[in-house]
């Protein structure tokens, strides 16, 4: 493959991935409002188009045309940088996620992934840890009490849960023997007894999965860990002073992060694109992507379901849970996994 073809293919993949991700983000907001509404015996948005399906477009237009207010005592460079940083880091993470095997399109052999790198998982962890600055700087630069408290809470929470999150993944890494997300998926191929797939969730990593999913909910500041934007006490948390598109950028970053978490859960614990494939060539090529999308959407649904079901933690409960329960459990999981692999 020449360098020209490589760049062309990469640009095409980036455009498609961004388009799909942003559309997914927009419609997740609608799905969230609809599903939570039904959980709470309401109808949710139903005025814009049939079943309210044009609601995300209307919301987008509203955000664009709203007045963009910068508080007079905000520190402007960082006030502007914070949402950009949040959104950039959230969107970049999609680049290393594999959504399917290598395929041949028009004579070019290419992976269904923007960048097939051998440290994919570490890149996602790195991007997440840089994304914390978006939240921290937003609260500080707004020069407002509520923003400040919200961002202090969010930063402490994200830094704490990042450790449990990272450690929960070590078991999976020991199984796969690689940081490459593609290798991790390939290590999960095959079945037990002919019908139970050898996904990590079924091969003894279910404790790790639950640690991961709880830590990831805390990482993305979602209920039941949304202390950072607890509206009953902090108005809106770190983005209290933001309006118009700057607020929309934080909003998009939050939902894009939900997608990253869902994709990562799928890749690490649920076998990524693996699933039954059959039929003609076109179906063979499309079914893996279908399975991947299905699993990701299931995780997004669980996110929304949890939001509609659980109340919020208290802050001391949150910290105690992260440090005194999740962290030791994650370390115990590493020990047990390492012993099992070593004795095998």
């Amino acid at each position: 493959m020449t360098i020209g073809t490589y760049i062309l293919i990469s640009v095409i993949k980036i455009v498609i991935a961004l388009f799909v991700l942003l559309t997914g983000v927009a419609y997740t907001t609608l799905a969230e409002r609809k599903i939570v509404a039904h959980i709470q015996n309401r109808w949710g948005p139903s005025r814009v188009g049939p079943f309210g399906i044009w609601q995300p477009l209307a919301d987008g237009l509203k955000f664009i045309f709203k007045e963009d207010i910068t508080p007079p005592f905000a520190y402007k460079p960082l006030y502007l940088l914070a949402p950009i940083l949040s959104l950039t880091m959230a969107l970049t993470a999609i680049a290393v996620i594999p959504i399917g095997p290598w395929i041949t399109v028009g004579g070019v052999y290419t992976p269904l992934q923007i960048a097939d790198v051998n440290i994919g998982l570490l890149i996602i962890l790195g991007l997440t840890s840089i994304g914390v600055y978006g939240v921290a700087l937003a609260g500080w630069s707004s020069n407002s009490k509520y923003s400040m408290l919200g961002s202090l809470r969010a930063t402490a929470q994200m830094v704490s849960y990042e450790i449990a999150l990272g450690l929960s993944l070590v078991g999976v890494l020991i199984y796969a023997g690689s940081f490459s997300l593609r290798d991790i998926v390939n290590a999960q191929s095959g079945t037990f007894l002919g019908f139970i797939p050898k996904w990590n969730i079924f091969t003894g990593q279910f404790v790790a999965f639950f640690i991961y999913i709880m830590a990831a909910y805390a990482e993305t500041n979602r209920i039941p860990f949304d202390l950072a934007e607890a509206e009953t006490e902090l108005v809106a948390g770190y983005h209290t002073e933001y309006s118009s598109m700057k607020f929309a950028m934080f909003f998009m970053a939050e939902y894009a992060n939900m997608f990253t978490v869902a994709c990562l859960a799928t890749v690490l614990f649920f076998g990524g694109w693996l699933g039954p494939v059959f039929g003609p060539a076109i179906l063979l090529a499309l079914l893996p992507i279908f399975w991947f999308v299905l699993k990701v959407l299931a995780f997004i649904f669980i996110y929304i379901w949890v939001r509609g079901t659980l109340p919020r933690f208290r802050y001391d409960q949150l910290m105690a849970f992260g440090w005194k329960f999740l962290l030791p459990l994650a370390i115990a999981n590493i020990l047990v996994t390492a012993l099992v692999v070593a004795l095998k």
Binding site: L125, V132, E162
Partner: protein, 172 residues
């Protein structure tokens, strides 16, 4: 290509380091330090040590510096004040120090006939040290060749943590 990228990120690194010293507001200095960490990670990446680069971003830029920023936010540190002439000791020690440092730099560059002897150029100059920055080789260094120093360091860090706890609780 490697040389061009090296010069760009090296320049960014030095520029951010100078900015770190020049900036008056601590949060700007902290952010400059993050840029320094980030460009260092990219330099590691150019050397083919992708694992070390990722760890550099996660640990230094992502964890250590978050705590720096956190402390600055908590203390709400304002702009620092400058004395008009600066410290006399700093001038007395700093100027000769700077001259000596520059002299050593010039001597190294002239004595070793330019930059070609310094390791620039990426993975191709690292023949014989195949994959020196990947997880396997880092793990072998840490857990086999230098196991004792590694464990002793961890005990040292543990002592530091306990010391910090004791100091923080003294008021009771």
């Amino acid at each position: 290509m490697h040389l061009v990228l090296f010069i760009i990120f090296g320049a960014v690194c030095i520029g951010a380091a100078i900015n770190l010293l020049v900036q008056k507001h601590p949060i700007n200095s902290a952010l400059s330090l993050i840029v320094v960490m980030g460009s260092l990670a990219l330099l590691y990446l150019l050397l083919g040590a992708e694992f070390v680069a990722a760890i550099q971003v996660i640990v230094y830029a992502g964890a250590v510096m978050v705590l720096f920023v956190f402390v600055i936010m908590l203390l709400n540190a304002g702009e620092e004040e400058r004395t008009p002439h600066g410290s006399r000791v700093a001038i007395m020690l700093g100027v000769p120090g700077l001259i000596v440092g520059l002299g050593i730099g010039v001597w190294v560059v002239t004595h070793y006939a330019g930059l070609d002897r310094i390791a620039i150029g990426g993975p191709e100059i690292l023949n014989g040290t195949e994959g020196f920055g990947n997880p396997r080789s880092v793990a072998q260094l840490l857990f086999r060749d230098y196991l004792l120093p590694f464990e002793v360091t961890s005990v040292l860090i543990l002592i530091a943590i306990m010391g910090a706890v004791v100091l923080a609780r003294r008021e009771e």
